[in-house]
Amino acid sequence: MEVKTEQFSEIAREELRKAYTFLKAGANFVRMRREAALSTFPDAAAAQAYGAIIRAEAISRLPELLEEFEKNALSNGAKVFWARDATEASQYIVGLAKERGIKYVTKGKSMVTEEIGLNEVLEKNGVKTWETDLGEFIIQLLGVTPFHIVGPAINIPVEKVRDLFMEKIDLKEPTLDPVQLGHAARIFLRDKFHRVEMGIVGVNVAVAETGTILNVENEGNIRFSKSSPRTQISVMSLEKVVPTLEDALHLVRLLCRNCTAQKLSAYVSMDNGPKKSDEIDGPEELIVVIVDNGRSRIYQDEIARGAMRCIRCGACLSGCPVYRQIGGYAYGWVYSGPMGQVLNPLLLGLERTQDLYRATTLCGSCKSICPAGIDHPGLFLHYRAKDVSGDAILQTRKPPMMERIFFRLWTWAVTRHRMWNWGVRFVRPFVNKQPHEGMLREVGGLFKGWFRSRDLPSMAKKTFHDRWIEMQKENSEGRNQNERE
C-alpha cells in the first residue's frame, strides 16, 4: 500500500473541504450507542480497566507468550511461519499459493495483510484476491484506502457503489437501496466462496495456553474463508497473543462493545488446527503466519511499545475531534485516526510521519475511550521528544544543523531577561510590518516551515514589562506630588 503520510496537510486540507457532515452529526449517536453497549457490563469502568491490564500483561510477557502459543498451535496440528518483514510474509504466502496451483483466494478483513501489501504481491504473481468483507470489497474495486477501520467504505456515496457494481460485478437493475446492493455483492462473492481453494484471514486474538486463534466478524465472510477451502492462512501481527482463553473472551466482549456497540458480533470463530480427517469441510492445512514487520524493533522502546496494546476496535476514531473533521484518508496509510497516529509513526518511522503525531489537540478523548489502556497523548509527546533528540529505534534523524543552532541560541536568549527584552524590541517592527487581521501569517526563508500551520499575533506596542516600569514611574511621581502638597 502506497504510503502517503508525508502528504498529511495537503490531503487533510482537501478533505476538510468535503466536510464529512455524517462524521460530525453521527458522532453523538456513535458515542451514545457505545456507552449503552458498555453499560451492559455491571461495572463498565472495571471491565475496560481489566482489558487494559490484559493487554499490558500480554505486551510485558510477549516473547514467552509467543513461544507458548507456537508450541500449542503446532501440537494442535497447525503450521507456524515467522516473517521478519512485509516481503518475507507476502513472498511466503505467494509461494504457498503457487505450490498449490491457486487461481484465486478469498480474504477476510485483515489490517496486517493491508500493512504488508499482500494483495498487490499476490496479484502481481497471478493470484487473484477477493476482499470479501463488503466494505473492503467496495474499496478494493475502487482502489482506495480504508476510510475507517470498521467501515472502510462508509463514506462512499451509494450512487458510486451502484455505478461500481454495474461496471464491475454485473449488477443488472440500477438501485440506490443499500440492501439490494449488498445482495448483489452476496451473490457475486458466494460463487467465490463456493469454489475457493485458499482462504486468507487475519487474527483478532491468539491464545497462548491453547494455541487457539480467534476471529470476530458480522458478515460470515471469514467463516466461509475458513470452512470452504482446503488451505487456511491466518496472518497475525505478533502482538495479538494473550495468556488465556478467558482473557481472549474478555477482550472480545470489549472489542464488540467498543467497535460496533454489540454485546457480541454475529460470529466469533476459534480455530485449534486443521479439520480432523473425518470432517467434510474446514481446512486440511492451517498455516499461521506471524508477522514482525518492525514490531520487535518498536518493542525496544519501553514507552512506544505501549501502542502495541491496540486491539483495533476503532472507538478512538469516532471519538477524535480531528478525525471527525478530516476523515480517514489524511493519515496516509493502513491505520487512521488516533490509532493510526500512534501506530503509523512506529511502523513507518517518525521521520516519514511528522504530521501524524502533531495533528492533535492532545485532548485525550482517545485515551479515555481506549479499552486497551493506550496513552495516546503521552505517546504523541514521546514521539515529538524523540523526533527532536533523534532516535535509531523510532527511526528519526536529528533535525538539521541550522535548526539545532537556532534553538540553542533561542534557549540561551529566552532564559535571560535582558536578552528577551532587547529581542522583543528588536523583532517587533519586523513582525508588525505585515499583520494580516492582526496576525502574521506567512514568512519566507528560514521560518517558512514554522508558519505553515501557525500564525503569530502581531505584537503589542509595549510589553507588560515596559508598562509596568511606566506605571511604577507614574505612581512614584504621583506619590512625590502628594507628599509635596
Binding site: 516473547p63 494442535n76 521478519r84 474478555h250 486443521p274
Partner: protein, 224 residues
C-alpha cells in the same frame, strides 16, 4: 549459519528491557453468572431477539418437530441440510421430512467436500443443526464443529434453524470454555459462537441481515 526469522525475532524481543508484569485485580463481575435457569432463558431470548434472531420455546421433542413443520411450511422449505449431532439424531428428521414432503440430507450423504459444497451452497433452502451451548449473556449459540457438525451447514443456507435443549443453557462464555477446553487433549478443530443472523452496515451505515451467511436464524428451545 543465518539465524532463522523465528529465533531472530524472539531473541530481539527477549533482549529488550523488561517491564514488570502489572498485577491483576479480580475479574470483572458478570451479571449472568448468578441467574436462575428461568432467568437465563429469558435473558438469552431477549438478547437474541435484539440481534434479530427468533426464539421459540417448546415443551419436548414432539413439539419441536411440530414447530419445525410450521417453520418449513411458512418458509416454503423443499430441501434442507441437517447436521448429525446428538440433538438432531434424536429427532429422526428423515422420517419427519417424509411426513412433511421435504428432502432431508446430511453431510454424510456426500463422499467429497466438493459435492457437499455444491449441495449446501446451491441446493438447500435451510440448514438445521443442534447446538452445544446457548449463552444467555448475549443470546449466543455455541457450536463445536466436528464430523457431525459441518461448518457450512449453519453458514451457507439462507436460513439457519437451531434446536437447543434448555439444559445446554449457560450464563457466560467462561462456562463454555471450561467445558470445551479445560483439561482436554483433543480440541475441536473449530468452535463457533453465533449471535443472530449474518449482517453488515458497510454501505452508508445502513444495517441489513444476510450479508454472506443466513438472513434469518430461528432457535427452538426444547424443555421447560
Amino acid at each position: 549459519m543465518k539465524q532463522s526469522a523465528r529465533d531472530e525475532i524472539l531473541s530481539k524481543l527477549k533482549a529488550a528491557p523488561r517491564k514488570p508484569i502489572p498485577s491483576r485485580p479480580g475479574r470483572p463481575v458478570l451479571r449472568e453468572i448468578s441467574l436462575t435457569p428461568g432467568e437465563l432463558i429469558e435473558s438469552f431470548s431477549k438478547n437474541l431477539s435484539q440481534e434479530g434472531g427468533i426464539v421459540h420455546r417448546v415443551k419436548d421433542r414432539r413439539e419441536a418437530l411440530e414447530k419445525l413443520s410450521q417453520i418449513a411450511k411458512a418458509e416454503g422449505l423443499k430441501k434442507v441440510m441437517v447436521s448429525t449431532d446428538d440433538v438432531i439424531a434424536s429427532l429422526n428428521l428423515s422420517a419427519w421430512g417424509k411426513e412433511n414432503d421435504l428432502r432431508v440430507i446430511t453431510s454424510q450423504d456426500f463422499d467429497s467436500r466438493d459435492s457437499f459444497k455444491d449441495a449446501v451452497f446451491e441446493e438447500v433452502d435451510a440448514g438445521i443443526t443442534g447446538a452445544d451451548f446457548a449463552v444467555a449473556e448475549s443470546g449466543t449459540l455455541g457450536l463445536i464443529h466436528d464430523k457431525d457438525q459441518a461448518r457450512l451447514t449453519s453458514l451457507a443456507p439462507i436460513l439457519h434453524v437451531a434446536i437447543v435443549p434448555v439444559e445446554r443453557m449457560v450464563g457466560v462464555y467462561e462456562q463454555v470454555i471450561e467445558k470445551i477446553f479445560r483439561g482436554k487433549k483433543n480440541l475441536p478443530s473449530q468452535f463457533c459462537f453465533i449471535t443472530g443472523p449474518s449482517m453488515t452496515g458497510d454501505i452508508r451505515g445502513v444495517p441489513f441481515k444476510g450479508m454472506h451467511g443466513p438472513r434469518k436464524i430461528i432457535v427452538i428451545l426444547v424443555g421447560e
